[in-house]
Symmetry: C2
Subunit: 338 residues, 2 copies
């Protein structure tokens, strides 16, 4: 397995080290190449994602990313120039965000019930395309636009991926989340696509919810969801709510996937670089280790993925809440369990 590793900034390198520790335990054939990208590089050289690096990344089977960002970098620079650029250049049209409430994890809800859902978020369209502009900037007549682009091609492939996920899960349920009553143009495309693709998956029950209602039910009744398919921006929001109710982004893993296999897919914890706790060895590497699980699953190594996930599940169920967490200790425990 040729793995490109982007440790990034802040706690990124710390959690990635533990992810690689666990990965090495279950997949002895990993050849990791590290790439220096992120806030530090930009601050040093002004470079975000040089074409040569992008080309090299393409030569790998997958990418593991820690986190990038620093308070010294203006908002938007790393997002548009690095993170979103990777998603768009590598055609990461599926943004996979599982949210499971593990035994032993206390979330914010009084009575969450069993929660085990997967958000399948579109990754290369919608309001994320950067289409829009500003007219008459800094005048009382300023106008700013953002254009959400949605194509049959783009919606169909992510919807199909979501149905395939649902087929592989016991509950066989899929919920489309959108705002079809207001965003009628894009909403119509999404609804019709789900309807059409659903005819190929008669074993899947399909539901629809407006994004505002879903955001509420994620809090009041998250257990009702199995697979969710949604637009790029709605997915950004609701997958974070799902993370919040299942213990926070310290545990949230994600995959940026090119389901066609043409480009390497990228796996990363949802949390950021957390500069406030960087360097102290107290970041929780669990989300990174779960991202390694998604990576293995994506590369067709379900047995190795199962070992990683089982290690996390066991570790979480036996963690001592009174004990302060040490990044390397969690990694050691997970590596030993995997």
């Amino acid at each position: 397995m040729r793995l490109a590793v982007i440790p990034g900034d802040g706690i990124g390198p710390e959690v990635v080290a533990e992810g690689l520790k666990v990965l090495g335990e279950v997949a002895p054939d990993v050849e990791a190449t590290h790439y220096d990208l992120g806030a530090a590089r930009w601050q040093r050289t002004g470079e975000l994602l040089p074409d040569s690096v992008l080309d090299e990344l393409r030569g790998h089977d997958a990418i593991l990313l820690g986190a990038v960002g620093d308070p010294g970098v203006p908002s938007g620079i790393l997002e548009r120039g690095l993170l979103l650029k990777l998603r768009f250049e590598l055609d990461h049209h599926v943004n996979l965000r599982p949210a499971k409430l593990y035994d032993g994890v206390t979330g914010p809800l009084a009575a969450p019930g069993e929660v085990d859902m997967v958000c399948v978020r579109e990754g290369t369209e919608g309001p994320y395309v950067g289409n829009g502009g500003v007219l008459r900037r800094d005048t009382p007549h300023e106008l700013a636009t953002e254009v959400s682009l949605n194509t049959a091609f783009g919606v169909e492939r992510v919807v199909r991926y979501a149905f395939e996920k649902a087929v592989a899960r016991p509950r066989k349920h899929l919920t489309l989340v959108h705002k079809t009553n207001v965003l009628t143009h894009a909403g119509s495309l999404w609804s019709r696509t789900v309807e059409e693709v659903s005819t190929e998956f008669p074993e899947i029950t399909v539901a629809y919810q407006h994004v505002d209602a879903a955001s509420m039910f994620f809090v009041t009744d998250p257990g009702r969801y199995d697979v969710i398919v949604t637009d790029n921006l709605f997915g950004d929001i609701i997958s974070d709510i799902a993370a919040a109710v299942t213990g926070g982004i310290g545990l949230a893993a994600s995959g940026n996937i090119d389901a066609s296999g043409t480009n390497p897919s990228m796996f990363e914890p949802v949390h950021g670089s957390a500069p406030d706790i960087a360097g102290q060895g107290i970041a929780d590497p669990t989300a990174t280790v779960l991202s390694v699980g998604l990576l293995l699953d994506h590369l067709g190594r379900p047995e190795q993925a199962r070992k990683v996930n089982a290690a996390v599940a066991f570790d979480l169920s036996t963690r001592d809440a009174g004990q302060p967490l040490r990044t390397a200790e969690v990694g050691d425990r997970l590596a030993a369990l995997a």
Copy 2:
């Protein structure tokens, strides 16, 4: 007070009756005129909002709406043709959504702490403008767009309203919620506007959060918010999360406000017409009564508003959870208390 009343469909007329009961108690000068709009009228006549009705509505001091909708009406018809049309025609640029966790109310959170926030959502711009289209419909090359329009004029007036709300509240804190790192064009306009207007309100502390992060903190730490100002679509989503954590949309009130006073503002419970429980006299009218409170406040009758809100607060703190709720009884109790 010349009040236009749109009872609407389903439980709409039931909750509006109680709202009027309480309103009549504190404001004896109400002259209410009822307007028949909603799913039933559309199904009967094909009419949504005739120009003549819109003209009549303009002649009132305020509008009280119950809820509209019926499973027999295709999604989008009433939204675009009636609800959003009212907001746009009457220039309801402030969509006010308070969320307070009242004593006696059990929400879904294990440890919510004190929650008392007000979402000030923009109401006439953003992705709600209906700008967009579909190209090559029903072909593999279909393209659907949605355009978010944001103007200096539109953003500035709602931001200013939010600052004024914040000044009138004890904590004097305002959070801008947007997604400036991805929606850089609109995000820039919103950020610059908040920054500019903030110079006129030195007593207000200002924070910024991305909508995904805010959605998370609404669940994990809702007590940190005071006034929130945000875009139309983000406001739709996050105000529903706020409603969920403070006891659900059964308690959520809203105001659609033309802050210039040119047009009548409209007040309504956030919940829908709930056809499943309509006609049984078991709908909770509390959100409607709280909407009456917002209405009174907007019309410059703070003392009457205070009475209504105090009645609700007292009633909620003494409700017997074991006792099935009767719509008219709640209204009677609130009227007696107000």
